[in-house]
């Protein structure tokens, strides 16, 4: 099967192509330099980009499913009947797996990272990914509140820690290491929480130690992605200091291919003030840091004003949110490993704090000068459902659109946010970087054919029916919400904003090589943990091959 995408206006930042009118050739599932007898797609005057790459969206697994179960009132929003090719769709902030696949594909996205899987429940995440059509995917394993990890951090046995990380990633078929409120969930096992320099109860380590050691293990294993961190102190006034301290833990480290720390949904971590009353944006401080340092990249975690469902592995945070709103709350602590919580949340334009949160995400994207350092996310569904990405993009591209919104929100935005003073408007190249090229590079997936359109890349392409000169926010939004074409692995999956094919997605997982004595010693410790403390047997723990029908194995070496 060959395709020729003719005369499109191509944005392919990883190959330094910025709005050039050119053709893209596809043969089977790859981008090639020439084709012989292709099906021709006329892309004249249309935007052509690599398929979108979402670096952080809670699309599959125990948390999102507990969110769906918690919210039938969200489930009944946006229901669509079964189609000739498509399964029935439900949900807005907590869409079913089918809606997730179709809606992303319609927006031109072809890869999504599920960023927070408790290893014990990884089978569940993979089961949902099997039922999430079209999208290529991968998962990050939560390894920071883990007893084995904390014990090795305390004893300083970094090689055994690396052996453990390697074993776990392979066992649960994950792609990388996720850290969420390090130490906080273990403390939450007793209803408590910790900050970066507090000692974790009963384990005698600090979150700072955990971050440093996991980063060291991560780099020792030469994993494609860096550690991926949700910092301590999320969502609290004044937390920007904790965020900067967290960034600073590994400031001396570097890696020639990529950052050594990816901090996620930094919007939720850029807050000043000492209470909700003097809550303010501290994006200036965060941007100042990120602009001059090379070791850290971030994603936005943009908030959009409206109703959504918050869900994170940060158990104490979700309980805290619930005590503020009084709304329903689910908690799911996972033995020896992690925790999690879910509560619905309304970001209201009438509430000062929510309005400032909305501004902060945009400020991050606009004040950080290098778009390679900041990825567009809403931390779906925490800041907003992923389906709002087109609106976020239109806000970043249009100061006028931002001003229209600011005119109708709480006036605190004028004093306690920076956004009103920002004139910058991003262009399509910036957007292509923030939504494809940068996330692919940050994840290390650029080396495996994602995020670009160079020869040999995966034939994942989005074509949007909008002129590069278009300024009107509405037109930008509708073009991005319903791609003219989405091509996934060389197959046209969306045409004129409708699903026309439903291939199954592939799951990327990393098989880190780390043999020898540390692994043997670690396995001895691990066996003890299973015999004494886990509620399942070790033999039943690793995720079986049956749960990855379309695996892409990435082998790494020390």
């Amino acid at each position: 099967m060959e395709l020729l995408i003719k005369n499109g206006v191509v944005y392919d930042p990883l190959n330094e192509i910025c709005g050039e009118k050119m053709d893209i050739c596809v043969k089977d599932d790859k981008i090639v330099s020439k084709v012989k007898s292709p099906k021709v797609i006329d892309a004249d005057g249309k935007l052509v980009m690599p398929g979108g790459v979402d670096i952080h969206a809670h699309i599959a697994g125990g948390k999102i499913n507990a969110g769906r179960l918690l919210r039938p009132e969200d489930g009944r929003k946006g229901t669509e009947p079964r189609g000739k090719l498509t399964r029935a769709c439900t949900g807005y902030s907590v869409p079913n797996t089918y809606a997730t696949g179709y809606r992303y594909a319609k927006m031109g996205y072809t890869f999504v990272m599920e960023p927070a899987t408790p290893p014990l429940l990884a089978r569940h995440t993979h089961e949902e990914l099997i039922d999430t059509p079209i999208l290529d995917n991968a998962i990050l394993a939560l390894l920071d509140n883990n007893w084995m990890t904390m014990e090795y951090v305390k004893s300083g046995e970094t090689k055994k820690l690396a052996a453990y990380v390697a074993w776990m990633i392979k066992a649960v078929k994950a792609y990388g290491v996720k850290i969420v409120n390090p130490g906080g969930d273990e403390a939450w096992g007793w209803g408590k929480n910790v900050n970066i320099d507090d000692s974790v109860p009963n384990f005698d380590v600090t979150p700072r130690d955990i971050i440093g050691s996991l980063a060291e293990a991560n780099e020792m294993l030469n994993l494609p992605h860096s550690i991926h961190i949700h910092c301590n102190d999320l969502g609290h006034p004044g937390n920007y200091e904790t965020t900067l301290k967290s960034f600073d833990v590994i400031k001396g480290r570097s890696n020639k291919n990529r950052q050594v720390m990816h901090a996620t949904h930094v919007q939720f971590h850029s807050y000043g003030g000492s209470s909700w009353k003097d809550f303010e944006s501290k994006v200036d401080e965060i941007a100042k840091y990120v602009n001059v340092k090379k070791h850290v990249t971030i994603d936005m975690g943009q908030v959009m004003l409206g109703d959504t469902t918050t869900m994170t592995a940060d158990g104490p945070l979700e309980y805290g949110l619930h005590t503020i709103t009084g709304r329903k709350w689910t908690n799911l602590d996972v033995e020896l490993e992690t925790g999690g919580g879910i509560t619905p949340f309304l970001y209201s334009s009438k509430v000062a704090v929510n309005t400032i949160q909305w501004a902060i995400g945009l400020e991050l994207a606009l004040l950080i000068k290098d778009p390679w350092k900041i990825v567009l996310t809403t931390d779906h569904p925490n800041g907003a459902p992923f389906i709002t990405y087109p609106i976020v993009i239109s806000l970043l591209m249009s100061r006028q659109k931002r001003e229209e919104v600011m005119a109708n929100v709480h006036k605190a935005i004028n004093k306690r946010a920076i956004l009103p003073s920002i004139e910058r408007e991003l262009d399509w190249n910036d957007i292509a970087i923030m939504t494809r090229a940068a996330p692919a590079r940050i994840l290390g997936l650029d080396r495996y054919g994602k995020g670009h359109l160079g020869v040999g890349a995966d034939a994942d392409v989005a074509i949007y029916d909008v002129s590069p000169e278009e300024k009107e926010a509405k037109k930008i939004q509708s073009a991005l919400l319903r791609a003219k074409y989405t091509i996934k692995g060389g197959e046209i999956v969306v045409k004129d904003g409708e699903i026309v094919a439903v291939p199954e997605g592939r799951t990327y997982w990393v098989n880190p090589e780390f043999d020898g004595k540390p692994t043997k010693d670690m396995l001895g410790d691990l066996t003890g943990k299973f015999e004494k403390y886990y509620s399942v047997n070790l033999a039943n723990y690793p995720v079986q091959d049956a749960y990855l029908p379309h695996p892409i194995e990435i082998k790494t070496k020390v």
Partner: protein
């Protein structure tokens, strides 16, 4: 204009008929009305295949719909209606008048469960008895009924006005278990007897003019007041979670 619908037979598999509402009939002739789509089980069917349709008068002040015969297996009549009037000369199935925001529905017989679910405005009159979840919310919603009036001449089932946030429900007879559950606004008046009223009540008012067969242990007695010329005992609660709802009761059980 008046449209009279007569079911051609008694249905076993329920008909889903939210399309039967004045908003949808206004300005339409007989054949147009007959071609309105309804659902019968998993089949989409034309209204005319299930009902005989009679149209009288012309459309000036909104349509009035009259349903003759047995509607006890016709669900969702008047769901989401904003204006006009529907009279059902018999019993009606679930979700009658659900999510309505205006107009009036009169049920001459009994209404099955979820009548007036999540109502926003308008008036729903049930001359017979109402089933469970009268004027209640949908699963998971924090506010169910927010406006409008529901009047029941007979009895009502369990969970009347669950999650009610506004509007008024008046039951002339008795009601079942836990009326006013999770109520945060609005008013429920029950002239007969009930059991365990006001569970999780945050705000709003419940008036029980008959007897409460069993009281919750989490309401505070505040004294007596005269309401509608009845001397009633006043309680506040539900204090399980600091609620400030008001519950008036005529007769409480002896301890």
């Amino acid at each position: 204009m008046q449209v009279t619908l007569t079911p051609k037979k008694a249905f076993k598999v329920p008909v889903e008929a939210e399309a039967i509402k004045p908003d949808n009939f206004a300005g339409k002739g007989k054949s147009e009305i007959e071609s309105i789509a309804l659902w019968h089980g998993n089949k989409e069917v034309k209204l005319g295949s299930l009902f005989d349709v009679k149209v009288e008068g012309v459309d000036k002040e909104g349509a009035k719909i009259v349903i003759e015969g047995d509607a006890s297996r016709i669900k969702r009549i008047g769901e989401g209606m904003t204006s006009g009037e529907i009279t059902i000369n018999g019993n009606v199935d679930m979700h009658c008048g659900a999510m309505m925001s205006g107009g009036k529905v009169i049920v001459k017989g009994d209404a099955d469960a979820w009548a007036g679910r999540e109502m926003r405005g308008g008036e729903l009159v049930v001359e017979g008895n109402a089933g469970n979840y009268l004027g209640a919310g949908y699963w998971g919603v924090e506010k169910g009924m927010r406006g409008g009036v529901i009047r029941v001449k007979g009895d009502a089932g369990d969970y009347v006005g669950g999650h009610m946030g506004g509007g008024e429900i008046i039951v002339k007879g008795s009601a079942g278990l836990l009326p006013g559950l999770n109520m945060s606004g609005g008013k429920i008046i029950i002239e007969g007897d009930v059991t365990l009223p006001g569970g999780e009540m945050k705000n709003g008012m419940i008036v029980i003019k008959g007897k409460v067969l069993e009281m919750l242990p989490s309401f505070r007695f505040e004294g007596t007041e005269i309401i509608d010329s009845l001397k009633l005992k006043k309680f506040t609660g539900d204090l399980t979670r600091g609620g400030s709802g008001t519950l008036y009761v005529n007769i409480i059980p002896e301890e």
